[in-house]
Subunit: 288 residues, 4 copies
């Protein structure tokens, strides 16, 4: 808990401690006890126990002056074996955005980071079509056109990686990037690739979800932001949202109406990830 | 359009004209022209054209004194061949409710019809378990226990029909009735059986949707009210609604939270149907 | 954190510790440390710090065998002066419901407690009109008709209290009770009277909110559940929800559509209070 | 109704007929009859009757080749006296956007019109601060800085009008323009000025709505897009939307979360107005 205002004192650092381990007696007491011994204030503490699996998760926002090594060392001495601990600094993160032709998601990310609605450093935009180069240019973000034309999937992904790697991105954001990534590519960024799928997953997996939704005659459509794993549209879900539709909507009008949900779900999910509020747990997420 | 208040004049009848035919020039003018010639006021008029399929739909709420035969005759003379016309009176409709063990949907229907929140005459409740007999009795609604124990599907449905038929219900409502109906049974009530499915269809078709939703880690759950056709959970959707969930919800807690959505979606869908606001069109509905 | 399933062991008790005190260093560590020393498992822990006011709040769900006096004694020794601590048992709570003429909120409370959708013991229903006696009788709940006719406000409230007091209710629920309570009456149940107001407060305070909403031409209407304090419609808000409306809605149709929101907001708010998830803080609530 | 696809035939024009008159018998039949006689297809027809006031409203989307004068003449011969008829072409409309310092609403309008998410021609941006000049420049939209410093209200508005008038805008959009306009200014653009207010009106009228919302402890915040009339925050409401908040939100965090609702409500309201779907009726709107 904090008796100093966040950032009231410029010498005060803020870091986030993520704990993920087998459940045991007294974990909250032990972990917060160590933090107290290190004279760190807890600004916010969120915990969750999966009783079915006996697993413990905690996110602790700390303020003070940190000796990371000694803190983590003291913490591991009170935690069960095979725990996962992470002490994350508060500096803003860097992403590379992958796109194809549609502008609405990229546009929203660029605009929000421009006016401060999203705390992120967009290092570059990479498109398998050139269409969005102009949009990236408006915000002085480097755009790389990496065509898939005439390349097999692996060669194209190789070309992508050569462009993306140097930016040392914390996360890749698929902002309506319309190609499926191979397991090899995904393995380079485990739980670090965020995709927006234009349906309320798991409904309408795969191509043409709005067409599928129209044919099924649903009364609500949605969008899903998720981490990408090896199975198409099956990674851990971060955020979902929906809007009502009715018989007046053609598949095209559903797609148009859906764009607003897609962009808002993607940027909200990204913000949660950037804030280190999301813990991946099997194929699910804990969002603190 | 109405210059008299609805029901201001006790001698004034109100009926609803549903038109469903091939699209053609001047249909609104011709249909409303005939109504005008019959000195009928249009209280409310809603129309929809499916341009892709060239099909025209209109719902017209009429007030005045009706000569049904002559009105329908004059209308058919201005409509294309093979039109479907329906002139429905405003009298309240009669339903039979099928249940298994869960009380929340039946309870909401009984309570709403009791205090006037739902304009319906619940003629009877039929359960394949006896559990809800007491609840029906509170509202003095006949309850029939038709066990499926020791009966094959057809014999059980035969037994159901013997109980249900005499009530001459306009609609059957499946209020968490947990058995699949055969095509033969459904054929007895074409587009007249309304089911509540405890998921946001087409996600999580079939059994244990909340378990499926929990395993998939969705952030939103929902319920879907639809007409029953021959394919499980695939009939025309009338109404859907959703609620947010998070990692704190176990499958059981999702199921509990979902009950409120299920009951509210079912009773809203039923009200729309009772108001003759729902037109089934292929596997979709037009909700005026 | 719990390594035993909740209620897995019948000898295990569950209690909830609510802490509300001035913020200070190490509070989470100290409080959870005391719980650990008492060999109590933390099933769930939620905390909030109001940095602006330097106030600390925590809700701790504990499992184990309790020595209440010694636990509270040990806790107070680690907390700042003038702390508020509460150790609440998990037994279901008792409420008395006040009504006037409208059945939908009372009906939903009765139905939900009947089928287990709400963990509450409805001890009695008290109405200033006799209209809802029949409804209470269906569920074998005592109904008391306490007319206000010919009584001044104080005499009427005196008569109410004589009926209500013996039930020793934890909370009073105003389920569309349409009379304003005096400060003297409210003082008898500080932060223990829950009211449902049929608008999205603070919009449309006072009488006829749906008429006001219609006249203002709003596109969304709502309902608000709040604790009652001395100012009409101004107590701490527990829960709010809304539904969309449009130009087709008359004030009467808004009122009818609003009933579903009113009843669902009231029962959700009540469930939160019954779970000891709501802490009143000035004129606001913290909902853990 | 249309038997040709919209725009299937390039020689086909599309126009929208708005009718607003005293209610009378046979209006739909007469109006659609005239359209039929002019060989105009009705693509979509929406009508509403205010029975309380005996007023009739209809929006008719027409396709064909138009003789405006003769059509309007024939229509007026079948309508009651003092009717308001409007025949609007489908060409995209022109707006001038007024801003102060906040970028999110302007940014969304610029971005959506850039990628085709909004069918509008943004002719210019006018700010009483220079802050957003750079943003407008990214999209090559003229920006005019018209400071209010050292000017009385009337002189400032005079200066604004001198800049705005030449653009002959169909509508002015106040995208977080933080100054109150005088009745004289508003009178220049009757029902043609659209404002976004950062609260769920009529809650929290005036300044600092998020601060007010935080102090009141609401659980839902919202935004309202409305036409500007002479009373602050009291014009006819076009669109509203809300998002949930909780005790964790400071007033600043509510304001930040609210930005997404503000921008989405404003652009949805603007799209409705641009589509001629909104009819102002007293202090309310009919949204077809």
């Amino acid at each position: 808990m904090s008796v100093t205002q966040p950032n009231a004192n410029s010498s005060v650092e803020r870091k986030i401690l993520i704990t993920d381990c087998a459940d045991a007696h007294g974990l909250i007491a032990k972990i917060t006890g160590v933090c107290f011994a290190h004279e760190l204030n807890i600004v916010k503490n969120s915990e969750f126990v999966d009783n079915a699996q006996g697993r413990f998760f905690m996110r602790t926002e700390l303020e003070g002056s940190f000796d990371d090594a000694s803190l983590l060392n003291d913490l591991s001495s009170v935690l069960p074996e095979q725990n996962h601990m992470q002490l994350v600094g508060a500096e803003r993160k860097r992403v590379v955005v992958l796109v194809t032709k549609e502008a609405h998601c990229l546009g929203d990310l660029l605009m929000k980071s421009y006016y401060g609605g999203l705390d992120v450093d967009i290092a570059a935009v990479v498109g398998n079509y050139p269409n969005l180069a102009e949009l990236a240019a408006k915000f002085a973000i480097p755009f790389h056109f990496v065509s898939h034309e005439g390349l097999d999937r692996l060669s194209h992904e190789q070309a992508l990686l050569e462009v993306i790697k140097p930016y040392e991105a914390d996360y890749l954001v698929l902002a309506k990037y319309m190609r499926v990534l191979t397991p090899d590519f995904v393995a380079q960024y485990p739980n670090r690739i965020i995709n927006i799928h234009h349906s309320f997953l798991p409904a309408f997996i795969g191509a043409g979800p709005y067409r599928q939704a129209w044919e099924r005659g649903v009364k609500i459509i949605g969008a899903t932001a998720h981490f990408v794993n090896n199975c198409l549209d099956e990674g851990p879900i971060i955020k979902q949202d929906v809007i009502p539709v009715d018989h007046n909507y053609s598949a095209q009008e559903m797609a148009r109406a859906g764009r607003d949900v897609e962009k808002s779900v993607l940027s909200k999910a990204l913000q949660l990830v950037l804030n280190d509020q999301v813990i991946v747990y099997g194929n699910r997420t804990i969002v603190f």
